[in-house]
């Protein structure tokens, strides 16, 4: 369907991860990582990068900005996506709204067809060029939110269209109106597929906001770069940033799996 990121496959993923870990260990070993001197150096740099002057707080603040932007953008994306998908589904379902539908389609095509980074720059430097007292984070939320709205619209639409049309027919044949049938029969079923995909979108967005540094937002990625500039050290701050992203994404992924199981409880394959 319209997912941006491939989901990680289980099982085989573990083997790949194992090989990767071995490779990493070998690389560390051959670069003399497991000597006492290397450890001392590692600790000294660790202290400089994260401990001294509470520099870890820069990462914490960056993380806050990243989560704030991602959450805000997801909320906007949900609202926009809902409206767009209602237009598209209703149009297909027989409501005569060709102009609205064409607009929705254009919106989705344009916003999915251009990089989020480019959209962000246009919002910041063209559309909101004169709005200087506005917190740049709000501009980023708007830019990412409108962008993800296009993806979320497709998630909603895909979720609704994945439901057997017979469900709508059965509901209508009992005398329920289109709206009621949608609300009580189709949407609740579609949501089972939609909700996990929305979390995947959240995960994709979380990573995507890492370009926000370009317009001057100290998000998690940028915080790592700011520490780099302070200590002039390349690897540790970035690796730390990567680890933080990874941990969040892995927790979310695990949560989504559990959620999926729970949503599909009581159902046979």
């Amino acid at each position: 369907m319209t997912m941006r990121n491939k989901q990680t496959g289980a099982g085989r993923g573990d083997i790949v991860l194992g090989i990767f870990a071995l490779f990493l260990l070998y690389a560390l070993y051959s670069s003399g990582f497991f000597t006492a001197a290397a450890w001392q150096d590692f600790n000294r740099r660790f202290y400089q990068n994260f401990v001294k002057d509470s520099r870890y707080m820069m990462l914490v603040d960056g993380l806050k900005a990243t989560i704030f932007m991602t959450s805000g953008a997801t909320l906007i994306g949900l609202a926009v996506g809902l409206v767009l998908s209602v237009i598209r589904v209703a149009h297909k379902g027989g409501a005569h709204i060709p102009v609205l539908n064409a607009m929705a389609e254009t919106y989705i095509t344009v916003l999915r067809g251009t990089p989020a980074m480019v959209q962000l720059l246009i919002w910041n430097f063209t559309i909101f060029a004169s709005a200087r007292d506005l917190n740049t984070q709000y501009i980023a939320i708007l830019a990412f939110g409108l962008n993800s709205g296009a993806y979320i619209a497709e998630i909603f639409r895909g979720g609704i269209e994945s439901i057997d049309p017979g469900q709508m027919e059965a509901a209508r044949s009992l005398g329920l109106s289109y709206g009621t049938s949608m609300k009580l029969i189709v949407l609740p079923q579609a949501l089972r597929n939609i909700i996990p995909m929305l979390f995947n979108e959240f995960i994709a967005l979380l990573k995507e906001t890492s370009v926000a540094g370009y317009i001057g937002i100290d998000d998690l990625t940028r915080a790592g770069q700011n520490i780099q500039a302070l200590t002039l050290e390349h690897s540790q701050p970035l690796v730390m940033v990567a680890i933080i992203y990874l941990v969040i994404v892995m927790c979310l992924t695990r949560f989504v799996r559990k959620l999926e199981e729970w949503l599909h409880r009581g159902r046979r394959g």
Binding site: D164, G166, Q167, E169, A170, A171, R172, S173, L174, G175, L176, S177, T180, L184, I185, P188, Q189, R192, G266, R267, R268
Partner: protein
């Protein structure tokens, strides 16, 4: 002959195909059903049986013709089609139970939502109907845990929960394993005996013979033969009917 509960006059249905062409599926059907009557609709595959049935409650929009239900022209834009449908319920080949709702909820949702009953009444009625179709113990089960025959019996109960005037069956046993057909036909027989008005599209000739008051043979979008089961099954007049029956019965 004005005591038809449903009356169909010169019904045409043309599908517009994606390649721009047209498919004439119904080519002028005029018929009707009396209160308490059971009509079996038979005919070759693709002859328009389902389309005919689906036009009756406007699941398909008729291209032309008039359909009246209890004297009201339901093809007119003024007609409250949702209300008509609640009195003319349909049972589908593939059941279409709502899988996210328990059996109980499947039965009570529409009556309560349409304010035909309050929740307690609907609940009592659901229990009654499930007992009638022999599934009283499944009331809190999820649809996906039922067998095909059980699902179709629940679907029939769901339609009955609306207290409809007419039931429309579209091949209710065609998707079932042979050993489950009997249990569904039994329920339908009991319904028929209780005086329900029924349109029944079916390939179960034996059942049609036993239950129907009248049989319509639809071929190429028109009713090409019509009569009592004895007339149509035992002494068909049209060569097409003979050919069709000989093929079906040989099977």
């Amino acid at each position: 002959m004005n005591d038809y509960i449903i009356e169909v006059k010169d019904l045409h249905k043309t599908f517009r195909l994606q390649d721009g062409g047209e498919l004439h599926v119904l080519n002028g059907i005029s018929t009707g059903i009396h209160k308490g009557e059971k009509i079996a609709v038979i005919g070759p595959s693709g002859s328009g049986k389902s389309t005919f049935l689906r036009c009756l409650n406007r699941m398909e929009e008729p291209t032309s013709g008039i359909i009246s239900f209890k004297g009201e022209d339901i093809t007119s834009p003024k007609c409250d089609i949702d209300h008509v449908r609640s009195k003319m319920c349909m049972v589908f080949q593939h059941f279409h139970l709502f899988p996210h709702l328990t059996v109980r909820k499947n039965l009570t949702l529409a009556p309560v939502e349409l304010k035909l009953m309050n929740p307690d009444e609907a609940d009592t009625r659901a229990k009654e109907l499930l007992a009638r179709v022999g599934l009283a113990d499944k009331i809190d089960e999820w649809p996906d845990r039922l067998s095909g025959g059980q699902k179709q019996r629940v679907a029939i109960a769901r339609a009955l929960a609306m207290n409809p005037d007419v039931l429309l069956f579209d091949e209710p046993t065609s998707a079932l394993d042979p050993e489950m057909i009997g249990e569904v036909l039994d329920v339908m027989k009991e319904l028929a005996d209780s005086g329900m008005t029924m349109y029944l599209v079916t390939h179960e000739m034996g059942f049609a013979h036993k239950v129907a008051d009248r049989v319509l043979f639809i071929d190429k979008g028109i009713i090409s033969e019509e009569g009592t089961p004895e007339e149509v099954f035992d002494d068909p007049k049209q060569p097409r009917t003979k050919e069709f029956l000989s093929k079906v019965l040989r099977r």
